[in-house]
Amino acid sequence: MLEVRGLQKSYGQKKNVLNDVSFTVPLNQLTCLIGLNGEGKSTILKAIIGLIPVEAGTITIDGEKKQECITFVPDLSTMPSYMSVGEAIAYMRDYYPDWDPQVADELLGFFKLVPTDRIGNLSKGNKAKVNLLIGFAMNRPYLLLDEPLAGIDLFTKEQIAWIFSSHYMEGKGILMTTHEIAEVEHLIDRVIFLQNGTIIQEEDSEEMRELYGKSVQDRMREVYQT
């Protein structure tokens, strides 16, 4: 289990961008971090992976500091735009010892990506697919997905969401931020509600339906509009 404890972050004068943020990401589950714009969702993901410094807080996996078990999948392309999709995959394969070429091949086919296409010429949806392909092929137990569905057309979104119903979910603990909750709420195991840099609720999505007859969107309205 990935455990985040007491994350504290300020940006200059802006205090408490993150305020004592604590939660867990279990294996074999899709956990969704929800919040309105500017609540600090991406900041949390970047803090977990160590991309930005924090004033306080610990990130542990099964009680130990093992950041090499976590992959961050950004919402923007990080591969150089002059590279082709195939070159980007080969580059990552050479760089990461745990790279799983079979996963990369399968996802390349499934996402209908063309290896000779240049990264710079890809649509936003195809860039997101390349990011996810790289994330899953790195073959680490924990994945942080930053807005994997933002600004992407309906059919591409459906293709991407397919991954959440696939065997690639097995053995993985996934933490995702998204505003596209309607498209994925039936696929989510747990929801973490974030407001003003603080976690205000953590809920099991099936329990939300079973005990209260509410959808994740219903709960969002209650949490953020009252």
Partner: protein, 128 residues
């Protein structure tokens, strides 16, 4: 296949219902193997955990048998399937009765319309 889920009802219950109907309708036949959990999740576009939960529930209700390393199968026991059929019928009738009672329609009027609609549907099925 895309199921249109009601997002206020547990997803696993909706898939469970879908699956039971397939057994009762004979799409998944008595004693025959059923899709793997992975295949079910991929086909219905649901989380593998949900597929897992549905199969566990179906096993508890003795509608399927799960053994290690072989495909799971629909029960051989016809009485269990009949029981599921009765349960589905009961649920449907309950919903129907609740709907017409809410509209303050009498039993007689409800039955007349039910019979008329049933006959029309059956007729158009035979024509097709």
């Amino acid at each position: 296949m895309l199921l249109h889920f009601n997002k206020r009802i547990p997803i696993y219950l909706q898939v469970l219902d879908w699956f039971k109907k397939r057994i009762v309708m004979g799409e998944f036949k008595r004693g025959e193997s059923i899709p793997s959990r992975r295949a079910l999740a991929a086909t219905l576009k649901i989380h593998p955990n949900t597929a897992q939960k549905v199969y566990k529930e179906l096993e508890e209700q003795q509608l399927i048998t799960i053994e290690r390393n072989v495909p799971s199968k629909v029960t051989m026991d016809q009485s269990v399937i009949d029981q599921a059929r009765t349960e589905l019928l009961d649920n449907t009738v309950t919903q129907f009765v609740e709907s017409i009672r809410a509209l303050q329609i009498s039993l007689e009027e409800g039955l007349i319309n039910f019979e008329k609609e049933y006959t029309i549907r059956k007729g158009s099925e035979l024509d097709a």
